[in-house]
Subunit: 346 residues, 4 copies
């Protein structure tokens, strides 16, 4: 298998840098170019000393990345990727967007939640949104991949089997999610200033986070009807990881055993999704630094409510790892290439 040249636009943000780290160990890929607006001209290792002795790559501009790469990843704030995607399509590069610009199929949603319009509508017709475990068949050969949001991946995988089963009361879906601080990125803020963030905890963007319509888009597709839910994220004083605790009323009484079987069956062939044995409970630490999603299934008999707990590493399955998984699917590589990661125990 010949080596694929990959490039990263926005390589010094957290997701971009994690992507660089993972691509450097991918058996079929060479990291060919990286760019950064803030640090152009410096080496990647100057910005992240963990790369000293590992790579001599110099941060260039976006055009240089597109020029040198077969596959172009972008990890940028929303609103910047249409022109990049356009260039990639014109030059025959595969474009994988870790940001939000191609995630929402309905432009009205993008307009409502992000305050922007689509300028290049035909690009959006080319774009494929893909959580591989739910959308795998759509990815092969895609020109543009919209890589899903972190909270979205965790919550959608946690809800998919139940929502698809028709047994969920879709008016009563509540997602209480908690994310490590890398989810907020590398930009400085008082909220993420160590003394204000350590020994602290709070929700944020209550019922107004931009990942809400994307979760609903996924669940609506599974349910075959419009789903509207409550989503509340919290900032957790850890570096990495997301745990979603999900509450769903049932259309008729069920049991932990029945739900567990439903989930185990749904994900039985998935390498990256593990349904824990009945009785076990998900812990964020067991998926850290991996592309895995662990899910535990619970049932509150007193209120006839399903409780799903799902965890991912927000930087890997929630960003860089899933982007690589998507690249593998697009290019017909083994889906797990470069992603056989085992969580460190501590």
């Amino acid at each position: 298998m010949s080596t694929i040249k990959a490039g990263i636009i926005g390589a010094t943000g957290y997701a971009g840098a994690e992507l660089a780290r993972l691509l450097m160990s991918h058996p079929h890929v060479t990291l060919a170019a990286v760019s950064s607006v803030s640090y152009e001209g410096k080496t990647l290792a100057e910005i992240y000393p963990n790369f000293i002795g590992v790579t001599d790559l110099i941060l260039e501009d976006a055009d240089a990345v597109i020029e040198k790469s077969d596959v172009v990843f972008a990890s940028l704030p929303h609103g910047l990727c249409e022109p990049i995607a356009k260039k990639c399509v014109e030059k025959g590069r595969t474009f994988i967007d870790l940001g939000a610009d191609f995630r929402l199929y309905d432009e009205a949603d993008y307009n409502e939640w992000y305050g922007l319009s689509y300028k290049e509508k035909e690009l959006h017709d080319l774009a494929v949104y893909c959580i591989p475990e739910l959308d795998r068949q759509k990815a092969k050969g895609a020109k543009i991949i919209a890589n899903p949001g972190c909270y979205v991946t965790c919550s959608s995988l946690g809800l998919a089997p139940l929502v698809k089963s028709g047994l969920a009361d879709l008016k009563h879906v509540i997602i209480d999610a908690k994310s490590g601080v890398t989810g907020a990125g590398r930009g400085l803020s008082l909220t993420t200033h160590y003394p204000e963030c350590n020994e602290a905890f709070s929700p944020y963007k209550i019922a107004s986070h931009r990942h809400t319509p994307e979760i609903e888009q996924n669940l609506s597709a599974l349910a075959g009807e419009k789903v509207t839910l409550t989503f509340v994220p919290h900032l957790l004083p850890v570096n990495r990881g997301i745990v979603s605790t999900i509450y769903v009323d049932m259309t008729k009484p069920s049991s932990a055993e029945a739900l567990h079987k439903m989930y185990a069956d749904f994900y039985q062939d998935e390498e990256f999704v593990t349904v824990l044995p009945l009785g076990d409970i998900v812990n964020l630490k067991n998926v850290r630094c991996t592309n895995n999603c662990q899910i535990s299934v619970h049932y509150d008999k007193r209120t006839d409510r399903a409780i799903l707990v799902s965890a991912i590493d927000n930087m890997v399955k929630g960003a860089a790892g899933q982007a690589i998984q998507n690249m593998n699917l697009v290019l017909g590589l083994p889906e797990n290439a470069g992603l056989k990661l085992i969580a460190p125990i501590f």
Copy 2:
């Protein structure tokens, strides 16, 4: 005002030691005696070096504490307090139980959730369960105080105005709570071993935590009907503090403004409960080391669901501080005596 002699049975557990710390600064109290089964004969400062130079108290046995004190606090595992309460009543001591033995009015609940029966039923008729902001009028002159659980205090204060209003759909109350690790006490376990607890996060005792019937007892009293709810606690990698994110369906559509007014009015005369300005969001750090509860009120217009966020310090308002507040009420002291604590900023 003459000085009250206070004693603590179980002074080397976390709640007992925090109580010792707070009582040492109480203007109307002398900490007269402390006991510990594990460390009897040692000084308190040998066990907790923060007390070096502050107190020379020696850990004695429970009988010595009862003998030397006007008010006896106990902070023990459940199932041990009936004989202590009995002795206190016989000797005319006020007894304040930080544990669970007198919290549930219905023995059937105690039997179901704790697996034990009441041996001294007449003591339970004497016992007064008291969250001061909800039950203040019952405390004065009480012989036995059942001090509420930490999760219970946080959740009950967060829910009380809405549940009492009659506007809550009592079939749809979900409490997603997160507690710092001191809530698990000083007993050693793998779960609280630093390398397993740090950079980790998970729920535990999903829909089966013993504080559930106690929360329901409080809410049922406010609602005038039986409330059954879903309660899921999580272990948060911080030392102190609880945040409860509470989801309640409404019986009819409302608004953030209306709910906020309801909460502000309900707690307008309370020194220890603050309803944040509309738009602000509770953060655990702002109540740390205080007897305060901060609550923020939110409304999800898309699903017509109220979202309440409440935070307390589990060791103070959730245990030792509320026990002192209750003592103040019982004895007719100013309710805030010894409790004018300002949270450190970091």
Copy 3:
């Protein structure tokens, strides 16, 4: 005793805000005014929500603080306090500077380490540098107090008895210090961005930190000769606290017992300095949120080297608490007024 009006210039930095918190509980002080360049016009509680319900103070400008206060504290970056001190002296206010502008007696040192000159030399003649345990007699009635640096206080207290004894080899004094992140202040930086600071550890300003000449100034005064030492600070992933591990060669062999007696005798009358029992080891957590310094004394028989470990809370004994202690001394108040703080256990 009539109430003293205190004001804080720079009240929204960490030291200023901690000072505000402590002054609010001082029995002889009213916090009369606070200022902030960044947040003028807002309430202090808007900036720090732990003050909601505690104070309605509005942030003003520095002149307003000087006007309204008997004692003016300033907590500002270096280079800004001479004009403030001048106004205070002219108006008869006591001025207490938590910053560095009046700490170094020798202008050449200030010039070398801070790159600035003294513009108002006569003010420096008025200024009294005071670690109370070492310089107490100088403080009473002072018009300007130079409040010592955090690392300086911790290290000087840890070294004073041995350096004064004449038994230290003054050519071989090494201070390896570790500070919590609040020591870096509230200003944002990548170094203190949570994901870069958490699960990380490193020294900084190796042998070049500005507290070096101040420590040397203190030790030279005690030794009666010029001391030059090696000082290396490290950034510790905790919010508060400093631990200094200090290595000193002896001019002749000694023992742990002899050194311990020397230290215990030296500090026997000090309320805020505790020499731990021989064999115990200092832990940062036992001084957190207090004005205390704990010191443990050790001896390496294999190399005939004394090892001293001292710990303080950098924000209290290292800044705001010591400033209050100094204020108490200047004004003839009980030295411990407002400072009877007991460390929380966790």
Copy 4:
């Protein structure tokens, strides 16, 4: 290259489990068997849920491991490995001891620091102590490898060039080391109980830690004379990593530049040791989860003292990774096989 069967005795301690994790990704190794006294009969994935879906290995006893493996690793408390080593030698297995039993060449040192004697002296003649960067040539074909201690590796690599140069004043070597909590292992203790360990910091075993004679053994070999030094470890509230800040007096004045060149030359061919560019400072986070050692070189001109800062991951280069590096050397595999690990950025 045929696959090597590796086994781990003591696979559920932290070093053993980390070794399991790394061996599972080693290109020339199959993890054939694992043992645990505490958990025999359970699967490894039941003890560490990060292994769910990765391995079905069942914990057996030590004999089963020896039987099934070409290379046997042991990670056990000291005093237990002589009989295991004996069996391995008899059966022709390579034995790699991650514990202390074969580290000290001089039995008197073992007796003094560990309180035990050697029972099988001839085994100790077979044993090879090996930090590869210092002792590489001794490892090939060894029957027993004594894998160095974590603090020892970090400190020895940080000191080797200077000690070997003859420019170090060997009477004035001080190592102030800080280790993450995994260094204390998985055994429960109050010291490592989360609420006592978080937001805390202290030294321990001051000038009495068992790694002291092992560091001295290494440095004495490099210096050609007996080295006696001061070593003080501290417990750092992070999961992984060691930073050693090392102070060395010089026999004659030098400079940062000269020292830096000495270090860069010494390690120029080493893949796992990086000397940072002059002016940069080591941070623990940049070596986390890798087999790398990063070293920065500093010089205090005011006292003519060299300051070296070295960092490793205590679980990888300080234990499991170095054990694999040693295995690679013994068996003639590429030294970096299974160890091309890139530190996660956060």
